[in-house]
Symmetry: none
Subunit: 212 residues, 4 copies
């Protein structure tokens, strides 16, 4: 048989790469459409049009609408966590404030690069949409949980080194994420679509608050 011949293998590779490329294009189109039109309003036809393919093709790549959304979240989730983990696996610099600033910079950079995904996260957070999207429902809290975990990790470090007060510490990750998200929404509302998240100011605020 020539099923394993080099040329066949090469052809399969090519095919598999083409397939991957189409999947990625669909996910990108889905990200844009979900963000722009809303998680509930975006239609499969719109996504297909944005991806430059026919609706049927979406279903060749993803079981259903829910699976597409879940795949999109999963794709970005892993990329974000990778960025964070890459940093968290390094030894601490010794200065908590620098460490935090670096981590939040990485997150902010990712969210700036994937603004659309950041908006989708916001829509998912309410958890109300997940009832309709069971697969995403399993994926989105997981993603939030993992984000939370990373932030808890560094917060615990901060508490241990007495850089942070321990009293309300369990909610610091929530507050930090909430501030990033509300800043993104505010920038959108002000029409500053291309402006970056003011990460340094947010970290400063997180550390020292608003008082003089």
């Amino acid at each position: 048989m020539n099923a394993n011949s080099p040329s066949v293998a090469k052809a399969q590779n090519l095919r598999s790469r083409l397939r991957e490329a189409t999947s990625a294009a669909i996910i990108d189109a889905a990200e844009g459409t979900f963000a722009e039109r809303g998680l509930n309003t975006a239609t499969m036809n719109e996504i297909a049009a944005a991806a430059g393919v026919a609706v049927g093709t979406l279903y060749n790549h993803f079981k259903d609408r829910d699976a597409l959304l879940a795949a999109l979240v999963e794709e970005r989730r892993s990329a974000l966590l990778e960025v964070m983990d890459e940093f968290l696996d390094q030894p601490s610099s010794g200065d908590f404030a620098s460490d935090l600033k670096e981590l939040v910079h990485r997150m902010g950079g990712f969210f700036d690069q994937h603004r659309r995904f950041h908006q989708i996260l916001h829509q998912l957070e309410s958890g109300l949409n997940t009832a309709q999207y069971p697969e995403t429902a399993a994926c989105s809290p997981k993603m939030r949980g993992e984000l939370h975990l990373r932030l808890e990790k560094i917060v615990k470090r901060g508490v241990k080194t007495k850089a942070l007060r321990p009293e309300f510490a369990e909610y610091y990750p929530t507050l930090l994420l909430g501030m990033l998200r509300s800043m993104r929404m505010r920038l959108l509302e002000l029409g500053k679509l291309d402006e970056r998240l003011p990460v340094d100011e947010i970290v400063r605020f997180f550390m020292h608050g608003a008082a003089v």
Copy 2:
């Protein structure tokens, strides 16, 4: 004739009161349904069932789905702003921190009392939903704008009295609201449906941050 007789007048009063009661019941049911099932997912039939009336009745009281949502937002909006204005119209205590704490307590109290509305606000914030709901679209940013305005007012006071740093002050209202909202969502996620917002801790965090 007897069109103005006491009994007719009484009957009209009764009717009008019954009508108000039904409207209020519908708005309450809508609040619950929109919050629980999601702004897009909640159906008119669900809302009617929750209110214990038939669908047609919803349309006797509100022009369409959009108008019902707008009426709901408007109802709560005015109640919230009233609570805030009642405080803001008083002379300052002189101590900024006390003033802020009091104001946020009022807001938090309102949001605790109307948890479901707080969740709806969150869903409205993305602005993506409003595209579909023109009437709400005109109402919801107004509400956010007015909330913002109140907070800006007190923030400016704080800056003027040098209780607050001026550098990032334009975003303090956004951050404060973002923290309240993310805390609500977190409590929901943890299943602590009936727990109150930890207003004191949030204000403390707002003022002094997380650092020791």
Copy 3:
């Protein structure tokens, strides 16, 4: 008992007259609304509003929408036939053309006076509406049939006196009515709402056609 006392009788008379007056007002309102808004589009609420009463009152006077429409048709039908019969019961003048002109004048006069009813007749004629309105369905062809009968009567007279050609005579009533109706619609289309049907010209055309 005083059930038959004069005053009671008088009171009952009064009441019955009031009832009649309300019924007539409703029928008038129905005529206007059906004509203006269309047989299918006119709603019971619109009719009630036009009559200055509540919807419920319509149902106190007429079993349902269909019965109201049927009563309206019946009311005008009997009035029209009365006008025609009054003439037809007289002995012929001896001149067919004069007789026809007089009859058509009476019909045209009635239709001018009840333009709205004339329009309703037009809508009923298609017979498509009657499927939905069983009572009217029984009433409207009857009305058309009776109109037809009167016209057949005079046409037969004309044929017998050799004033009319017999060849196509069975369709002369249809053509005559069709011309009256199309003239009404044309006047409406031209915005000449208040113009009278050009009865003389129509009768002339009926008798001698368009040729020189």
Copy 4:
């Protein structure tokens, strides 16, 4: 690539032809349903059932109910006018009566072939239905206007050649159309569904009237 290969082109041709066929089937079904059940009573589900497709398919081919009706009217309108214009563009035979007879024969033939459409025209004429159907509203008077125009054209010829009396000539088109329509309705009422319009008799009547 093979986007322009013969097989793809052939497939697209096939698809496009199938699509046309479905559209035509839907228009035919709509014609039958609108005529039989009435312009207001016919439901989209009935039309879909008559066409042997699902409701959704109607909306794949026509924006909404109104657009379907308008497309139907437009389709028949252009076919009718084509038949008339084909004749009107020829030089006159010199004999007005022959010309008129020929033209009305063509119209009558078309209306016989499209009896259902003839009935729909009748329903549209009242203009009351069109208020609800904006697209049809723009299309239906246009169609009536164009029909009128053609008839005015030939009537003017007749007046110029002194074949017709000029006195009431502006209403001749209206009367002619009204007679055709009332004859169709009469045939329907008599259950003579398949009988043809008696065009010769109508033209004779138009020219010479009913008198001996």
